[in-house]
Amino acid sequence: MSGFRVVFNKEFTDNFRDRRTLLSSFSVAILGPIFFVGVMVFVLERSLGDQQISFAVVGAQHAPGLMSFLEKQNTQINSVQAEEPRKLVTQGAYKIVLVIGPDYGERYARGNVNTLILIHDSSEISSTRRHLSQLRGYIHQYSRTIGTLRLWLRGLDPAISNPISTQELDVASPAARALMILSSLPYFLVLVIFMGGFYLAIDTTAGEREHGSLEPLLAQPVDRAQLVFGKITTTAVFGMMSLLVFLGSLYLSVPFVPFERIGMALEIGVAQLINVFVISVPLIFFAAALLTVVASFAKSYKEAQTYLTIVVLVPTLPLILAQLMNLETTLAIMFVPSLSQANLMADLIKGEGASVINALTSMVSTSGYAALLTWVAVSLYRRERILG
C-alpha cells in the first residue's frame, strides 16, 4: 500500500470518528438548503398573501356603490359599528379603518366633495403601509371613475381634468423576490465546500503537531509529498461529501417552494446538480490545499481555528463584490476561484446553462491554483520548521 493510501485511510477513519468534525462538516450542508427553502416559502407566502387587503369600514351602508367597487378589488371588508373609530386602530382590533360619513349619499347626489377618513398607525410595519396605499389607490380609482362619468354627462372630455397620469410597475414581484433569494445559493455552495474540510485541515496539521504525533510521523520512511497528498485529499473528500450532502438536501427541499404559484418554472434536476458538482471539484481541492497551507502555519489548534475562520470569509468576499458591482458572467471572471464557480452555478440554476469554454476555463485555472498551493504545502512539510 502506498504512503498516500495509508495516510488517507488513517486520516479518514480518524476524522470520521470525530463528532465535532462531522457536525461542522455537514451541518451547513444539511441545514443550509432547509433554511434557504424556509426563507423562500416564508417570503413567497407573505408576498402572495399581501395581495388581499383587509380593513374595517364604519358606515358602509351609506356608500353601497363604493363598497361594491372595493369588494371587486380582492379586499376583505369588515363592516363595523363604532362610536369612536380611532379606538379600533389604537386598541389593535384593525390595522386600517375607513370611515364614511352619514351624509355621504346626500353629498354624492348633489355632486359635492365627500371626504372619507382613513385611520391607521404609521408606526406600523410596512405591510400595513402598503395595504393603505393600495386601498387609497382603489378609492382614488373609484373617485376618478365617477368624476369621469360626470364630465361625460356634461359633455366634457374627461382628460381635461387629468393632465398628468402615472402608472406604477412594481418589479418586486414574487418572482423577482424568489430570484433574489436564489442568487444567494452560490454563497452556500462556496461556504459548504470550505466548511466541509475546515476541521480536517486543522486536525491533520496544527492538531497533529499539538498532540505530538507529527514528530514520530515525520520519522517514518514516507515521502513528504505522499504524506501531504494524503492529508489534503482527505480534507478534499470531506469537502466533497459535504457538497454532495448539500446538493442532496437541496434536491429534496426545493420542491417545497411554491414556485408554480408565482408562475416560475424552477426545477433543480439531477443533471443540473451533477453539473454543479463537476464544476466544483477543482474548488474543493483548492479549498483543501488552501486550508491545509494556512493551518500548517498555526502553532496550535486554536490559532489554526482563528486563521481558518478568516480564510473561509475570504472566498465569499468576491461574491459580495460581484453582486455589488453587478458583474456579468465573463471569461475574465472564470480565472477567479470561488467567484467563477458561484457564477457558473447561478447560470446552471437559472436554467440558462453554462458555456463550456467558461466552465473549462474555471476548472483548469482553479486546478492550477490548487496544484500550486499543494506544492507550497509539500515544501512546508519538507522543512524541519514544520515541527514548530
Partner: protein, 242 residues
C-alpha cells in the same frame, strides 16, 4: 552503531547543541544524561531525521542521517517525549498505522502486532481508543508503535516520564530485553537513578556539550564520589552555575 561527530545545532539565537560527539554500540544501552535544556532532545531529533544539524555528522549503521534519511528511517524506532498517539484510534490501530507507513505487508504486520501486544502486556486495553489511556498504557502503545517494524536502533526520549513505579519497572524490563537480543538502544533521561539501574554507557550533556562519556563506574570514579547524583551534578556543570 550510532555515531555522532561534532554536532552543532541552533534554533534562532539559542545554541541548543554546541559540539557533541559520541558512539552508541550495538547490544548496549546508552543513556544521554543531562538537565532540561541540555540539548538531549535536539540530538535525538537529529538522529531521528526530523531535524538537520548546522554542522557535524550523525550516522546510523554507517548511513548519514542528513544525506539518506529515508534509509535511516527504516532502521530506527522512535519514542517521542510525549507519546504522541492518535486519541480517536485504538491502541492497535495506532501501531498498525506506523507499520503500514513502514511499508509492512499485512501478512508480516498482523502477527507482529499480536506478538507486541503479548510482549508488552497490552491485551486488556489495546482495542480501546487511546483517549482515556493512563500514561503507562500510552507509553506501551507508543513503544509498540516504535518497535513494530523491528528496528535495530531504538531511540527513546525520556521514556519513563510520568510513569509510576510498576510501569517504570515494566518499561525497564522491555528495554533490557531489547539489549539482550542485540539492539542498539539510545535513550535520554534527566534521572540519575534510572540511568544507573539500566544503562551500560552514559553520556553526560550539559550546555550543549559532552561532559562525560564512559561507563557508570567510570563516572563514579572520575567524580571521586559514590553518590551518583553528586557525580552527575558535577559533570553536567551544574555546580559551577549554582
Amino acid at each position: 552503531m550510532i555515531s555522532v561527530r561534532n554536532l552543532v545545532k541552533s534554533y534562532g539565537d539559542v545554541r541548543a547543541v554546541r559540539d557533541i560527539s559520541f558512539d552508541a554500540k550495538d547490544g548496549r544501552i546508552t543513556a544521554l544524561l543531562g538537565p532540561n535544556g541540555a540539548g538531549k532532545s535536539t540530538t535525538l531529533r537529529i538522529l531521528s531525521t526530523v531535524a538537520e544539524p548546522d554542522a557535524g555528522r550523525a550516522e546510523i549503521a554507517g548511513v548519514d542521517v542528513t544525506d539518506q534519511p529515508m534509509q535511516v528511517r527504516r532502521h530506527i524506532g522512535v519514542l517521542p517525549h510525549n507519546s504522541g498517539l492518535y486519541a480517536r484510534l485504538t491502541g492497535v490501530e495506532n501501531v498498525r498505522y506506523f507499520g503500514q507507513l513502514q511499508n509492512m505487508s499485512a501478512q508480516d504486520l498482523e502477527p507482529r502486532i499480536e506478538a507486541l501486544v503479548e510482549q508488552l502486556d497490552m491485551a486488556d486495553f489495546c482495542d480501546r481508543r487511546t483517549a482515556g489511556f493512563s500514561q503507562g498504557q500510552k507509553i506501551k502503545v507508543a513503544l509498540a508503535r516504535a518497535l513494530v517494524h523491528d528496528p535495530h536502533y531504538v531511540i527513546l526520549d525520556e521514556p519513563t516520564n510520568g510513569l509510576d513505579v510498576m510501569a517504570t519497572r515494566a518499561l525497564r524490563d522491555i528495554i533490557s530485553k531489547l539489549k539482550q537480543i542485540g539492539k542498539c538502544v539510545l535513550f535520554s533521561s534527566h534521572i540519575m537513578q534510572e540511568v544507573d539501574a539500566l544503562c551500560d554507557d552514559v553520556i553526560v550533556i550539559g550546555g550543549g556539550k559532552i561532559r562525560f562519556d564512559g561507563t557508570i563506574d567510570a563516572l563514579r570514579e572520575l567524580a571521586g564520589t559514590e553518590d551518583l547524583e553528586e557525580a552527575f551534578v558535577q559533570m553536567a556543570g551544574l555546580s559551577e552555575a549554582s
